[in-house]
């Protein structure tokens, strides 16, 4: 039972990341009809927003170290600490949550520029060409990041207050051995909040309603005198922000490097296809489902029965689903079937 709960939680936080990326992919696909292979790169860019924020906050000045008296020793102290003392230290500690503030405008801007500068020329081109051009863009973006930040993973820690583990075993009455990192719990809650935010934006605002109407029948909405194109562009920006935030918050779990986007992209595409192309609830559900399945498959008891299953479970599920339910779990009729 303990192991079961742990694996479930393990799967859910990874599933949260998959769901957020897949949600953005589906949004872009549902509105603009574009298959965006650069979406994983947006996730990666988000993660590097956190890295940038950390670097900015820890810009340091060299001061003489008074503790060493034998020779002149210098140590680096961040400006923030020099200026604000302990407050500054606390701010640096919270670098990752703070970088959300940086990531939202930056990712929105990147999304809008990407849509206006490249994607809009590809609405009418074939899906293969969309895949190819965004694949090229993903390579370019990740190479730029590699030049700017180097090829090695950059550790970016969670705030000290939530660095430890939560004693969820005691809360649930399962015994003290069941502990779970705080940050992963936060990530899970965060991803649920973002998903809820996106859905309520689409469901409960007039803006979102028009967007949904445009997804159903773009032409009619256009005839009603609404500039649906501009709204879709904004939706692309929102999708970029969602992917970016997923990346920002993921940095304490996985130190970001320049090719993390590609790894997540492949999995997220599988998630989208399993959930059903064009279905937002499908993407979210499949994200969590595949995350949990992957986590269960890596239990030793399972691996003893089926060696290697943890390596292939996601793809195996995708193959089975595609063959048994061709439209995915919640796919709509007529999407991507030409």
């Amino acid at each position: 039972m303990d192991a079961f709960v742990l694996q479930l939680l393990n799967g859910l936080d990874k599933g949260g990341a998959y769901a957020l990326i897949a949600l953005g992919l589906t949004l872009v696909f549902g509105t603009l009809g574009v298959v965006n292979f650069a979406h994983g790169a947006l996730f990666m860019l988000g993660a590097f927003c956190a890295v940038t924020m950390q670097k900015l906050l820890t810009l340091s000045v060299k001061v003489k170290d008074p503790g060493v008296t034998f020779f002149d020793a210098y140590k680096e102290i961040p400006y923030l600490e020099v200026w604000f003392g302990d407050t500054g230290k606390a701010v640096i500690d919270y670098a990752v949550p703070l970088s959300i503030l940086l990531a939202i405008p930056v990712m929105l801007l990147i999304g809008l520029v990407m849509e206006r500068g490249l994607i809009r020329f590809f609405y009418k081109r074939s899906h293969a060409e969309q895949i190819l051009v965004t694949f090229g863009l993903a390579i370019v973006l990740q190479e730029i990041v590699k030049t700017a930040f180097g090829a090695n993973p950059i550790p970016t820690g969670a705030p000290d207050a939530v660095a430890g583990s939560a004693a969820i075993g005691e809360w649930l009455g399962l015994g003290a051995a069941v502990v779970y990192p705080w940050w992963r719990l936060i990530y899970l809650a965060f991803s649920l909040a973002i998903i809820a935010g996106v859905f309520s934006f689409l469901q409960f605002t007039t803006y979102g309603m028009v967007v949904r109407a445009g997804m159903q029948d773009r032409e009619t909405v256009g005839l009603l005198g609404i500039n649906i194109q501009r709204r879709f562009t904004v939706v692309f920006g929102v999708a970029a922000v969602v992917a970016g935030l997923a990346g920002v918050m993921y940095t304490p779990i996985l130190p970001p490097d320049y090719h993390m986007g590609m790894e997540f992209l492949v999995l997220s595409f599988v998630v989208v296809v399993v959930g059903g192309m064009g279905s937002l609830p499908g993407a979210v559900f499949a994200g969590f489902l595949l995350g949990v399945l992957q986590s269960f498959a890596s239990m030793t008891q399972v691996k003893d029965i089926l060696p290697g299953i943890d390596q292939i479970i996601i793809y195996l599920v995708a193959v089975v689903i595609l063959l048994v339910r061709p439209r995915g779990l919640m796919g709509r009729r007529g999407v991507m079937e030409s």
């Binding site: 298959v35 490249l118 020329f121 081109r125 899906h127 293969a128 060409e129 895949i131 190819l132 051009v133 694949f135 090229g136 863009l137 993903a138 390579i139 370019v140 190479e143 730029i144 590699k146 030049t147 590609m262 492949v266 595409f269 599988v270 296809v273 192309m277 060696p307 290697g308 390596q311 292939i312 793809y315 195996l316 995708a318 193959v319 595609l322 063959l323 061709p326 991507m336 079937e337 030409s338």
Partner: protein, 378 residues
């Protein structure tokens, strides 16, 4: 008309053969005249030509073709280990195993089309890659890669008494495959592969594949069962990939799982698109351009650049060098990505489309002349 076509094709084949066999001579001035690079160009050319038979003719975009390359490599190295160091059985075995593997994957994947097909092939390739790294280690030797060792059985070699001392090298009936002989083995394979591709393009089978690309539904409505045709194309292109994989093993008897990773599958897509999908020579050109960039450009570092731009004034030189160094050496992939984006945006038909537009510009008749088309794009 028919005999005219045939004659043109014969001319094309003859010119192609000549151009490929003299590659060491005419590629030498641009710094590509060494066997390592040339055989890579030939091998990846075969890979891309095979991929093009599937993607270029039927329009099915496979994102998992590297799996067949990897399987071909493993099969060839196992032939070396178990039977003989002769390259002929290794190549045959590699091609056959890759073909069988493609038959299985194609049978399942071709039930879907469009992006679903791409995801299915991607899923299969990633499964093979992950398994090769983990559970299948007894067969693939995991991260180390499958290598030859002195204790290998090599049943046929021992029976015939051709036992070599030390680590054996692959051979072609006694001729060791090293350096230039390696290139010529690959070149001959490339010429044969190209010939088959040419025959497929011109055959009724090729016509059927092109028809499937332009409208599969209509083909089905007329009572034409398209499945066997797409499956045949898939298997043939898988066998090409297996041939390329076994040639990789022939020139360097080592097979690693990283050859099956999806980035490797992406690379062959890039090559085909860059050269021009659906054209005969395009994929080979694309493979040549990308491998050339990879080998030559990535060798440039800041010191070499300083030599190149030493004529410029000092301050300017520094700026130019630091700017260009973003695109060469370690950064060549950036160049590749940009080049690729530019091609997809402005020239969806690839380099071959560029040639066609150029020839149109100069008002020459005919789509392309074979000799001109075989020139690289640099």
């Amino acid at each position: 008309m028919n005999s005219n076509f045939l004659r043109n094709d014969m001319v094309l084949m003859a010119v192609f053969t000549l151009v490929v066999l003299t590659m060491p001579i005419w590629l030498a001035p641009i710094g590509a005249g060494y066997p390592d690079l040339l055989q890579k160009i030939a091998i990846y050319g075969i890979f891309a030509i095979g991929f093009n038979i599937l993607f270029g003719l039927t329009g099915y975009l496979s994102f998992g073709h590297a799996a067949f390359l990897g399987v071909g490599s493993y099969a060839a190295v196992w032939t070396f280990k178990l039977f003989s160091m002769n390259v002929v059985p290794a190549i045959l075995f590699g091609v056959i195993v890759a073909g069988l593997f493609a038959l299985f994957i194609g049978y399942v994947s071709l039930r879907r089309s469009g992006i679903y097909f791409s995801i299915l092939t991607l899923a299969f390739a990633q499964m093979s890659y992950n398994l090769a790294y983990s559970v299948l280690t007894p067969i693939t030797n995991g991260e180390t890669g499958l290598q030859l060792s002195q204790g290998d059985a090599r049943v046929l070699d021992h029976a015939l008494g051709i036992a070599q001392s030390g680590l054996p090298t692959p051979s072609f009936f006694g001729m060791e495959i090293l350096g230039w002989s390696g290139f010529y083995v690959c070149a001959v394979a490339l010429i044969i592969a190209f010939f088959f591709a040419l025959r497929i393009f011109r055959s009724p089978f090729g016509m059927a594949l092109k028809a499937i690309k332009s409208n599969q539904n209509r083909m089905n409505y007329t009572g034409f069962n398209t499945r066997p045709y797409t499956l045949a194309a898939f298997v043939v292109s898988g066998m090409y990939a297996g041939l390329a994989g076994s040639l990789l093993a022939v020139t360097d008897p080592l097979a690693g799982a990283e050859r099956m990773q999806w980035t490797a599958s992406g690379e062959v897509v890039l090559m085909t698109i860059l050269g021009g999908a659906g054209t005969l020579l395009g994929p080979l050109l694309g493979a040549g351009i990308i491998k050339y960039f990879e080998n030559i450009f990535s060798a440039y570092n800041e010191r070499v650049l300083h030599d190149v731009f030493s004529g410029l004034p000092n301050g300017l030189e520094q700026i130019v060098v630091s700017f260009t160094s973003l695109f060469v050496g370690e950064g060549w992939q950036l160049t590749l990505g940009m080049l690729f984006m530019l091609v997809v945006i402005f020239l969806p038909g690839g380099v071959m489309e560029g040639f066609r537009r150029l020839t149109k510009l100069f008002r020459r008749d005919g789509p392309q002349s074979p000799a001109g088309a075989a020139q690289p794009a640099e």
